[in-house]
Symmetry: C2
Subunit: 171 residues, 2 copies
DNA sequence: GTGTATGCAAACAATTTGCACGGAC
DNA sequence: GTCCGTGCAAATTGTTTGCATACAC
């Protein structure tokens, strides 16, 4: 279940990129503002639970599933129920603050989405390790499909499944 | 839950393609041979249930989930249990005769894989319709990733989620 | 005060597991 | 005859729902 960020390869071959800006505190503040305005815009209540969940999610950079988040919050003495987690994540998905991933298993995985560039995943099936990458060519495919099928694509999910080529020879 | 095949656009812009060959009978015979040799190679028993399931899957061109397959086979008076379906599909995945898809929901979808070119999916979220497409540019991305990360990619899954742009305008 | 959001537990859905029996080898 | 694969039902896992209470508005 390990997860590491892709390397900063901006510019290299013009095809891979990954970057991160803004301090944790700024990030927390920013997403809180976004969520607040989302809740107001949609006439949802600004409950402490919702903000606690948002904060907890944005305090954690990797992928998580609901059970892990539940345990994490229980340990920190938050009193949240699984039901509220599912409900709130639904709102966070809708406000584009969280992204949902379905890797092979039947557990949904989530990750924070704001200031976390849209990226895709490589799952190393032997170790469960997840590599993130970002390749702009996917946007070209998207554009072609939109044009050919006359559709509007809202989002996508791209996962590659593979394994290390030979121990310690990769790189 | 509708599902339609992508159009045959081989050559157009050099980016989209879809084709199908071989009669149903030939197909059935071919996959049966492949499965037989797979079972022998891995010292698994060649039970009638396993071949019945393979036949049933290859008699159906679209996507299916386990429950649907179970119902389909029950109606045809096959006596199979869900457990056997899950077990056998596992073997069929391993022998590359079946492909597994996780669209948004928590139900896994499957489709036959042999002579069914590797393709990806567009899910129209409003209707649940699934469009298949095949874009060779995904292979370029794959090649880049293998090279950069020193990995070997076995397979991938690419899903776009979108909607029709405007009724009857998308050609 | 009103009514939405919450926590809890029960319900549900998809998949896995345990076990006794049957049939492939 | 051996023991793997089966059917069935029970167990497990992930997610949703129902309901009484709490608190945001």
């Amino acid at each position: 279940m390990a997860s590491r960020s892709g390397p900063n390869l901006t510019g290299e071959k013009g095809s891979l990129c990954y970057f991160w800006t803004m301090s944790e505190a700024e990030l927390q503040e920013k997403v809180q503002t976004i969520f607040t305005s989302y809740l107001e815009r949609n006439k949802h209540r600004k409950t402490p639970e919702r903000f606690a969940i948002l904060r907890e999610i944005y305090a954690f950079p990797g992928h998580f599933d609901v059970e892990t988040l539940f345990t994490m919050m229980k340990e920190k003495k938050y009193s949240v129920s699984r039901a509220t987690l599912y409900n709130t994540i639904e709102l966070l998905l809708d406000s584009n603050l969280v992204r949902k991933n379905q890797f092979g298993q039947n557990t949904a995985h989530f990750e924070r989405a704001f200031q976390n560039q849209q990226h895709d995943h490589i799952i190393l099936t032997e170790s469960g390790e997840v590599i993130e990458f970002c390749d702009p060519r996917i946007q070209n495919i998207k554009a072609t499909l939109e044009q050919i099928f006359g559709i509007e694509i809202m989002h996508h999910s791209l996962n590659f499944y593979g394994r290390r080529k030979s121990p310690e020879s990769g790189k």
